[in-house]
Structure formats: structure tokens, C-alpha cells
């Protein structure tokens, strides 16, 4: 080897060796960073681990720790620990975002920080620049087609006379209950501030109601053991029943569907905002967005192209259907909720 060639080779090799750590640092941008996220538990967290946390760790070295718990308790923990928050990112449904904003504990997230925000469907980001919506869960009428031959078509159909002793509803203190009450009110000329029509429907449905399920699992079990043939349930849980061989049909009410959206929020004072934005961006990417629907068949919030099997199963699968998702004034709903619970209890239990 000539001297000049040797020097060229040696210089290149030395530069490569020197640059390697820098290149490595670039590819593992968030190595040694762990984001703490409150989890919903079970298959939900598992789907996020696969579709969001896994790819982030591979790409940036970013670790994500999901801590399972009840959202209400996690929210209380977050509010109580403002000065040293137990989570970096807080995952919750629309109704809880109202509380987060009141407590002033979450940051705005701009499209300049999370480019995929521009892919969010119109009307699916309910709180301005706060929170990144990544999943839609809808409360819809459902029925067992083995026993109910005349399909339900609306929330108010639970009062139909052929359903005597066959209807299961979520208990009044569940958020699902507030949503179907709103549905029944608006289907019959009422509104969030005029719930009388909903109470009339509920009163008429009283002989039909066989149970008010305190938890999703309880309601799932009741449908599974065929204690009831019709009712109101979450779309994802209805799909779960179908996978267990129960012929539960999900109804898309023609006047509109009432849903809650799951958001990821960046907690004020957290140490790694850039890592949090990377998490949110991955969540809104095609891979992240499809993770929950693939596992649980809850809806998407972006313009992601749905594979055929998902398109068939999801409620919001076209621009026309997306337009039928009802906008909800969560602040007012939260303010009125306790009054509704009291009315439902009086109506059903008297």
C-alpha cells in the first residue's frame, strides 16, 4: 500500500471510529429516558406497548412505563402531586380532560411539536390545543340477533314493548350512562340542558330493564350468559362478545352516535417534553393509530387508511359516519351529571 493510500484509509477509519458514538447517539435520541404513563390496563396497554412503546424503543431507545390503575384514582394522584407529578403523560377520556384543564396540570400540544396532529379528523380534537386524541369509544344500542328479530335503530328503542325484561344498561354513575341519556334526550327533542325527554323514555323502559350493570365486566357477563338480549354498551366490548361467539349486533343510530375520546396529555413540569411529543407522534402514526382498533375494535381519530377487516367492524369507517359523531359539551355534561344520576336512580328504583 502506498503511503498516500494508507493515510487516506487511516483517516477515514479514524473518522468512522470517532463518529460512531455520535451516530449512535443520534439514532438513540432518547436512550436512558423513561416516560411514565398511567395505563388503562389489560389489552389496551398491551396494544399501546406493541404499537407505540415498542417502535419508540427500537427507534429512539425511549422506554415507556405504563402503570395500570383506575383513571379516577390516577387523576386524583396527579392533582394531589402537582409539584412532583407521578406521570409524565396522562391518558384519559374526554370527561376527565375537563378536570385536567380545571386543575391546570397539562401543557398545550401544538402541531409544530407533533406533526401528525394535522392528520386528526375534523371535530375529533375537542379541547383546542390540549390533549392528543387517539381512540374513540362509542356507547351504542346493541342486541342479540338470536333472540331479537326486529333490530333496534336508536337509543330510545330500549323502551320498545317487545323488550320487556330483556334490557341491560350501564349503571347511572358510569360515563356511558350520561352518553346514552343524552342520546335519548336529543333523539326526542331534548338537549344537554333539557333532559326531560330522556327521563320519559327511561321511565317507559323501566319494565324492560333487567339490570343496571355497575361495571363493564358485569354487563359483558350478563350478555354472555344471555340474561338480557338488548341494551346499551361500548362498541369495543360488543365486538369482544362477538369474538366469544355471542351474536351481538351493534347499532349505528341514524340520528347520531355518542362517544368519548381517549387523549394523551403532556403533564406540566415533566422532564422530557421532546420524548413526550415523540410518543404522541407515534401514537398518531398509522402503526400507533391501528394498535387499539386491531386489539379492541375501538375507533380511530386520524385519516389512517383502515384495512378491510377493521373498516367492516368499526363504527366510524367513513366521512359520512364520522360526521354523525355527536359533539358533546363535556363541561356542561360534567356539571349536570350528578343531577342526572339522581333522576335515573329515582326513575328506575321507585
Amino acid at each position: 500500500m502506498k503511503r498516500r493510500a494508507f493515510l487516506r484509509f487511516a483517516t477515514t477509519a479514524a473518522a468512522g471510529v470517532l463518529a460512531a458514538p455520535y451516530v449512535q447517539a443520534q439514532t438513540k435520541k432518547f436512550a436512558n429516558v423513561t416516560l411514565r404513563v398511567n395505563g388503562f390496563g389489560g389489552a389496551f396497554d398491551e396494544a399501546l406497548r406493541k404499537g407505540v412503546a415498542g417502535p419508540l424503543e427500537e427507534k429512539y431507545g425511549l422506554k415507556v412505563q405504563f402503570t395500570a390503575g383506575a383513571t379516577q384514582a390516577d387523576l386524583v394522584k396527579l392533582i394531589a402531586n402537582k409539584s412532583s407529578p407521578p406521570y409524565d403523560l396522562f391518558m384519559c377520556d374526554s370527561s376527565y380532560v375537563v378536570e385536567l384543564l380545571k386543575a391546570d396540570i397539562v401543557e398545550e400540544i401544538k402541531v409544530s411539536d407533533v406533526p401528525n396532529i394535522k392528520r386528526i379528523l375534523p371535530g375529533f380534537r375537542e379541547f383546542g390545543d390540549y390533549g392528543v386524541p387517539f381512540n374513540v369509544s362509542s356507547v351504542v344500542p346493541v342486541f342479540n340477533s338470536k333472540y331479537i328479530k326486529r333490530p333496534l335503530t336508536s337509543y330510545s328503542d330500549i323502551a320498545r314493548s317487545d323488550l320487556t325484561g330483556r334490557v341491560i344498561l350501564p349503571a347511572p354513575d358510569q360515563i356511558a350512562s350520561s352518553l346514552y341519556l343524552l342520546g335519548m334526550a336529543e333523539e326526542n327533542g331534548g338537549s344537554i340542558s333539557e333532559m326531560e325527554p330522556a327521563m320519559k323514555i327511561l321511565s317507559a323502559a323501566k319494565p324492560n330493564i333487567v339490570a343496571l350493570a355497575q361495571t363493564n365486566v358485569a354487563e359483558l357477563q350478563m350478555f354472555q350468559s344471555e340474561e338480557g338480549y338488548a341494551g346499551i354498551f361500548w362498541d369495543g366490548r360488543a365486538h369482544e362478545l362477538r369474538t366469544k361467539g355471542i351474536p351481538i349486533v351493534t347499532v349505528f343510530p341514524s340520528q347520531g352516535v355518542y362517544s368519548t375520546i381517549s387523549y394523551i396529555n403532556v403533564v406540566k413540569g415533566m422532564k422530557y417534553p421532546e420524548a413526550a411529543y415523540a410518543f404522541a407522534d407515534q401514537l398518531l402514526s398509522d402503526q400507533g393509530m391501528l394498535a387499539i382498533p386491531e386489539a379492541l375494535r375501538y375507533g380511530v381519530t386520524t385519516d389512517v387508511k383502515l384495512p378491510e377487516d377493521l373498516r367492516r367492524d368499526l363504527l366510524f369507517n367513513s366521512p359520512e359516519r364520522n360526521a354523525l359523531r355527536k359533539q358533546i359539551d363535556w363541561q356542561q355534561l360534567w356539571a349536570n351529571r350528578s343531577g342526572w344520576i339522581e333522576r335515573v336512580n329515582k326513575t328506575i328504583r321507585n
Partner: protein, 266 residues
């Protein structure tokens, strides 16, 4: 003759009622354990087929195993500390008259009347103020507060029922108070102490409400993990994990029974 018949009828009906009560008490646990051996993907009763697949899944699930470990060591620690605190409190209440004794008794039993949610939020606020929420102390103290009424009650009953003349005799023979407690009192109330420790372990091990407010730094107790799991998933894995919980509880109780004998616990 007539009296014999009535006696026999009473005995038979008593046995039937007892059997029914035991069945009612045990049936939830029995159903869960049986369901956990299903070979299908769905949790139902009677189970379809027989398989250990859900136990394999449970043992392979790091989240559940970590939560089981957290629950176990927290419950063991709580049982030990509750015994120490509970014995001291019960001994003072049983042996001495002092100002504020009624208040202390009321305080010891107050966690029974305060709703668990209120207790959880209260403790969370306290530890947030002390900046200790990311440590194990809130969970330990929360469970300790929950277990104290059971422990104090059980030990107090043992102290009341045992013969104090034996202690007086020992003191007459110039045994020091510490020696009397160590050599006379504690051995005599040992069944009560061990019953109290079982109460403390079981109360701590199965608690959901208070624990969900006081979990720390990614450490979650098993009941909280199960509770969160069933909110989004409902499969036989839950039954397998719940069965493991039952097994751990039974192992603790049986170990104590082996150590001192069931008849002494009664």
C-alpha cells in the same frame, strides 16, 4: 320418642344449613379456580376442556408476577408492623387506665367507619404534602391503617381472656416486666397474635380501593392490576391470576396452621 325425632330433625337441618353456608362462602373461589383450568379463550362455567395454558400465560406475564410480588411483600411487612403496633396498643388499652383511653380505642377502630375511598384520598394528600408519594411508605401506612382495627380487636380479646394470675405469679418470682411479657404473655396469646397476623395479611393482600390511590413508582398491587385488567379484557387469565392469589393466601394460612395448629387458632 317424639323428642328424639325433633332432635334428629334439628341436627339434620343444622348440618344442611351449615353445608349451605359453607358452600355459599366457598363457591366464588371454587368457580374462579375451576374456570382457570379452561382450555378455551373465554371465561365461563363450567369450563370447556382442561388445560394449564392460562397458568403458563400468568407466570409468563411480567406485570402480574411483579404485582403479585409487590402485594406479597407489602402484606408481609404490613402484617409484621401491624402486630407490633397492634400489640402495643391493645396491651395499653387492656392493662392501664389513662386519660384518653376511650379516645385511643375509638381511634383504633375508626378506620372501620371511614370509607376506604376517603381514607385513600386523605392519605394521598398527606403524603403529597410530605413529598413521599413516590415511595413505598404511603402504601404501607395505608394498609396498616386498614388492618389495625382487626389486629387490635383480636389481640385485645386474647389479652382479656387469658389468665393474668400467671403474669402476677411470675412477677412475684421477681421476673422483670419485659421478661413476663416475653415468657408468659406472648406465648399465652400466641394464637391470637397469629390470627391477627392472618387478618392483617389478608386485608392488605386483597385491598383495591386504598391501594389504587397509593401505588408508587410503577409498582402496582395485584388486586389493582386485576381490577384494571378486567376493565379492558375479560379472559381466563384473570381466573388463573386470581387462583394464584387464593393459593398465596391459603399457603400463608396453612403455614401458620402448621406452626401452631388449627385448634389453637379457633
Amino acid at each position: 320418642m317424639r323428642a328424639d325425632l325433633i332432635d334428629r330433625l334439628m341436627a339434620v337441618s343444622g348440618t344442611l344449613i351449615r353445608a349451605l353456608v359453607y358452600l355459599m362462602l366457598a363457591s366464588p373461589a371454587i368457580l374462579v379456580v375451576l374456570s382457570s383450568f379452561t382450555s378455551s379463550d373465554t371465561m365461563n362455567f363450567p369450563p370447556m376442556g382442561f388445560s394449564l395454558r392460562w397458568y403458563k400465560v400468568a407466570f409468563a406475564n411480567e406485570l402480574f408476577m411483579a404485582a403479585l410480588w409487590t402485594s406479597t411483600y407489602v402484606a408481609v411487612l404490613v402484617a409484621i408492623v401491624a402486630l407490633l403496633v397492634g400489640f402495643a396498643g391493645a396491651f395499653a388499652m387492656n392493662r392501664f387506665s389513662f386519660r384518653g383511653k376511650a379516645f385511643l380505642q375509638g381511634l383504633a377502630f375508626s378506620p372501620l367507619v371511614v370509607p376506604a375511598v376517603v381514607l385513600g384520598i386523605g392519605l394521598l394528600q398527606l403524603f403529597a404534602w410530605l413529598d413521599l408519594t413516590q415511595t413505598m411508605y404511603p402504601l404501607l401506612l395505608g394498609h396498616l391503617v386498614l388492618t389495625i382495627p382487626y389486629v387490635v380487636r383480636t389481640i385485645l380479646a386474647s389479652l382479656t381472656l387469658h389468665d393474668q394470675q400467671l403474669e402476677q405469679a411470675a412477677m412475684n418470682l421477681r421476673a422483670t416486666p419485659f421478661r413476663v411479657i416475653r415468657r408468659i404473655t406472648l406465648p399465652l396469646i400466641m394464637p391470637g397474635l397469629l390470627s391477627a397476623s392472618i387478618f392483617a395479611f389478608v386485608t392488605s393482600f386483597g385491598n383495591v380501593t386504598v391501594s389504587s390511590f397509593l401505588t408508587y413508582g410503577g409498582h402496582v398491587t395485584l388486586p389493582v392490576q386485576i381490577f384494571a385488567y378486567v376493565d379492558t379484557s375479560y379472559d381466563p387469565l384473570v381466573a388463573a391470576v386470581s387462583s394464584l392469589m387464593i393459593v398465596v393466601t391459603l399457603v400463608v394460612i396453612l403455614t401458620i396452621e402448621r406452626l401452631i395448629g388449627a385448634e389453637r387458632l379457633a
